[in-house]
């Protein structure tokens, strides 16, 4: 089976700084793949390039046989590759339900003019959006806060809202940016289960960038490790845990440790 998404020799340079250097890996359909690495390893940059929020300097990202790098973000989203953001990136003055309704933009059948005049298709669309929003919020366990203003939500719910907005677009691949950051153990475990059910029940392939190692080891089918913009390892959680290079990247080599 050919991979769903391929990252091929992707390089990103900001002036003299190389944020990502010739990174390649494949993402299979229906897997949960984590990208990890110390701060400044180039994880977020890589995500931005996959979702076409920033162009690659060289190399390309292939999705279902099509190049999706260096396009506009909305076009990539339309193809089914959708990213979420960290918690501050939300529609602040919308309620949870309104956000999820707006995010179903891509599912609209009626034209913008149709909505203006209130055509039959437009009305059907609106009903369908609201129905799906309620369904999705129930699936994510967010029904109780569906009428809350987004700006009033606690951090954990904001992450869930970010995922809800992403899921509302009906993605094939969902890119999650640090979904567990700043959460306590229980919240993290809830989120791990949630992300897993997104894959298991909705058939969405998930890629995530994360620092929380226990969560990453728990949730991932495979892990890609970056350090200083280079890919230093790729494999299953147990392979990664025993990888010399990875241990060195995270803990420093013995020499560094004693300052010699």
């Amino acid at each position: 089976m050919s991979p769903l998404l391929q990252v091929k020799n992707v390089t990103k340079k900001y002036g003299g700084l190389t944020a990502n250097n010739a990174i390649s890996f494949d993402v299979a359909e229906n897997e949960i793949l984590s990208v990890i690495g110390p701060n400044g390893a180039g994880k977020s940059t890589l995500f931005k390039m996959i979702a076409s929020f920033t162009p690659t300097t060289s190399g390309e990202v292939i999705y279902q046989g099509e190049r999706i790098s260096n396009l506009k973000p909305h076009i990539v989203a339309r193809k089914g590759v959708v990213r979420t953001f960290q918690e501050t990136t939300i529609f602040k003055s919308m309620t949870v339900r309104e956000s999820v309704v707006v995010a179903q933009h891509l599912r609209a059948k009626a034209s913008l003019a149709g909505y203006f005049w209130g055509s039959k298709t437009a009305k059907e669309d609106v009903t369908a959006f609201e129905k799906y929003a309620d369904e999705l919020l129930e699936f994510l366990g967010m029904s109780e806060i569906s009428n809350e203003q987004a700006s009033n939500l606690p951090q954990g719910s904001l992450r869930a809202l970010g995922i809800a907005i992403g899921l509302a677009t009906d993605p094939k691949v969902l890119l999650l940016d640090e979904p567990f950051a700043g959460m306590n153990h229980d919240e993290t475990m809830n989120m791990v289960n949630l992300v897993r059910s997104v894959r298991d029940e909705r058939g969405v392939t998930v890629m995530l960038v994360e620092h929380d190692m226990p969560a990453v080891m728990n949730i991932s089918d495979r892990i890609v490790v970056l350090n200083f913009g280079e890919k230093i390892a790729e494999g299953t959680p147990s392979e990664i845990q025993n990888n010399e290079k990875v241990i060195e990247a995270y803990l420093g080599s013995v020499d560094d440790e004693i300052g010699m």
Binding site: K72, V82, F91
Partner: protein
């Protein structure tokens, strides 16, 4: 009906009654015929302000509506005087022309955000004024004067609109025309804001990155909104020129552009009908204070400062309760 609550329908009913029957009665009783001109101006400026409000709705500060009003006024004047078109056809043509210019200018400048976009739009009014001074077709500093009053229109021999030149009371006719166009503008604006396009605008206003991540073509929507906004500007300007029966490069200046923006702030950026109320208070209030002579500016600015201090979300934010129209 049409998804409106009965409270909203009553409000709209009272509003329509006031402007079409109440105002003429009050003016007749008080004998202040000059109010017709003031209120007509308010209606027309409110149309242009509606456009500015719409660009605020996608998170852009627009201080360039005077440019599009001036373009509209010139296009209509040239079509009527030089090409002999009926005013009623030149009116939408002026709006469309302003919209086309907005698309061409908007393509590069709408990429800018915040104060950068505001600064570019601030220059636009001056650019159009200078262009009008330089082009032969706009007649330079002399402008275009003696624009004939709108002529009548009849379809299949049935008169639809009367000939303004044959009327005794053109003030009243212009007042009604301006009010009808204003109502159509705000009805369209209300629909737009409450339809999917409006929701997408809100999503862009709140977070453009997130909006594009859910598949919204933000550059396309920005252009569409800016074009509609400028269409309103052109419409208001064209109508203004027709009432004044003349257009000069100074008909709309940078100060007017700033006023269009102030109207929106004053009424409230969160309310569709904010700019309408803002225009009324700002323009009519200024006129009412005329009697205070040299203290006019002092009182006026004090009131404005107080409003900004105590009602930062605009005049409409004092309404109690959450019901009614947004």
């Amino acid at each position: 009906m049409l998804g409106f609550t009965s409270k909203q329908l009553i409000g709209v009913g009272i509003f329509l009654f006031m402007i079409f029957i109440g105002v003429p009665l009050i003016i007749g009783a008080t004998g202040r015929w000059d109010f017709y001109f003031t209120l007509t101006s308010v209606a027309l400026l409110a149309i242009a302000s509606a456009g500015v409000w719409l660009t605020f709705y996608i998170g852009r500060i627009n201080i360039g509506q005077g440019a599009f009003a001036l373009i509209g006024a010139y296009v209509s004047a040239i079509l009527v005087v030089k090409a002999g078109w009926s005013f009623w056809i030149s009116l939408p043509a002026a709006g469309l022309f302003a919209a086309i210019v907005a698309i061409l200018i908007g393509l590069p400048i709408l990429r800018l955000r915040g104060v950068y976009f505001a600064m570019i739009t601030l220059v636009l009014t001056q650019v159009v004024t200078l262009t009008a001074l330089a082009l032969p077709i706009t007649n330079g500093a002399k402008g275009i004067s003696n624009i004939p009053l709108p002529s009548g229109i009849s379809l299949f021999g049935i008169p639809i609109l009367p000939d303004f030149a044959g009327m005794e009371n053109t003030k009243l006719a212009f007042y009604y025309t301006a009010c009808v166009i204003m109502i159509l503008t705000y009805a369209a604006l209300y629909r737009l804001v409450n339809s999917r396009l409006g929701h997408l605008c809100r999503s862009m206003q709140q977070n453009e990155e997130l909006a594009s991540s859910i598949g919204v073509n933000i550059s396309y929507i920005r252009i569409v909104i800016f074009a509609i906004s400028s269409f309103f500007g052109g419409l208001g300007g064209a109508m203004f020129g027709s009432i004044a029966q003349s257009v000069y490069p100074s008909s709309f200046q940078v100060a007017d552009s700033v006023n269009f923006m102030l109207n929106c702030f004053l009424g409230g950026l969160g309310y569709v009908f904010g700019p309408m109320l803002g225009t009324l208070v700002l323009y009519f209030g200024w006129d009412l204070l005329f009697e205070f002579g040299k203290y006019q500016m002092l009182i006026y600015s004090t009131v404005l400062i107080l409003i900004i201090r105590f009602l930062p979300n605009g005049l409409l934010s004092i309404r109690i309760g959450k019901g009614g129209d947004k």
